[in-house]
């Protein structure tokens, strides 16, 4: 399975008056981690968009276990549990000092920017991911 880890520092502007990261702002962390996971494969999401492929999010499931706090350095692990086809799924786990604080599942599809039509996962992505799922 393809998996990638990185650290994200919580910004002040991402907290709310409860003193924790606002619940909607975890989506920014999923995004950053997903983009860096893809970059580690040698593909930039920017170049995908420039070639006319959009990746809109179609589903998100988030489980808030412990709130991330300002200035925390959060370890974010993104895993693609299976070779994508019409959808690509990222499982996200966040850790603070080895303790899990958040889990999520983010499902995206692929869309042709011009026609607006859904498409299968582009071959450039499949080619990079396939070795992680070979039997």
């Amino acid at each position: 399975m393809f998996s990638h880890e990185m650290d994200i520092r919580v910004r002040y502007g991402e907290t709310d008056q409860m003193g924790l990261v606002y619940y909607g702002n975890y989506c920014l962390y999923y995004e950053v981690a997903r983009v860096e996971a893809i970059r580690s494969l040698g593909i930039t999401y920017r170049s995908l968009e420039e070639s006319g492929i959009l990746m809109p999010v179609v589903r998100v499931e988030s489980k808030y276990i412990h709130g991330a706090q300002y200035d925390d350095l959060i370890r974010v692990r993104s895993t693609v549990p299976e070779l994508p086809d019409r959808f690509i799924t990222f499982r996200v786990e966040m850790f603070r000092d080895q303790q899990i604080i958040h889990q999520a599942k983010v499902v995206l599809c692929f869309r042709d920017a011009v026609s607006g039509k859904r498409m299968r996962t582009p071959p450039t992505i499949i080619d990079k991911l396939a070795p992680y799922y070979s039997p």
Copy 2:
């Protein structure tokens, strides 16, 4: 069942370069709709917090059907499907021109601001909601 509807206008700053509302920003809409739903019961979330009760989000499930666009006036329906106990659930449906564009389920708990301990739904909320679920 208790249900509440309101309109939310999409702000420019809530869109991203795909020309649609950024996926994390729907959480702002859930929040605004939930707060106004509670206000319609005669309770403000602000006063709850001032009385020492926090309502952190513990789970979110979002389904993106059609993307909301800048300046859209989105009708947001919030429904509490059952009388809350240790958790309160809001089901959210968003409509543009009568067409459903987004669905979500948001689960929150109640926490004592001083001790940090979880608590049951406060009686002030139960009292207001109970008539909607009487057999």
Copy 3:
């Protein structure tokens, strides 16, 4: 002089852990107030963009007097101090219970979406604004 007033309710997600609106989020309020000011003239910013005219911000000056708090209903007054030409300026004043809490000046230009070139204020806007500045 053209001036417009509206109320904006502070959202939870706009606060930070200081318990006040995050300083960058006032820009959302300037935006909403500016868009509604223009709408009150019979023009939507959305239709301007659809006709190929962009209005990027080129300068902002913000003075934070008293912090806005969660659930505050803020009165926002937007004033266009002079008939625009190559730039349009909005002066923004925010009030809570008649007390001024924030001031800003936002300068925008007009840009052709296709060529990217700067342009003068479109006649549709000048025509609507001119009566407010006639000698």
Copy 4:
């Protein structure tokens, strides 16, 4: 003069439908750069807050020269032009490929978290900064 540089990667969620970073989101970059500048002095803003000192922003002036784009790696230089006293000023310059794209001036004050009263710059900060301004 004390000066600090760092790189910030533009996130997708920070763009708007103009295809550029939303004008209010530059404040997040000022914040991150300011916090890292302070950290490079051996002080964390988090520890300042934990010791009861808040640093609210009182003034911002922003000049938008060229819009930052998704996935840009922006070099952000923060400079404290003079030894702070009742206020601390940060001058911010942003560069993309050596070209300046944004300038700002951010002024903050210091406030006692308990009493709410304004205070002078804490000695811990003065001690770290003073060597940069010695005659």
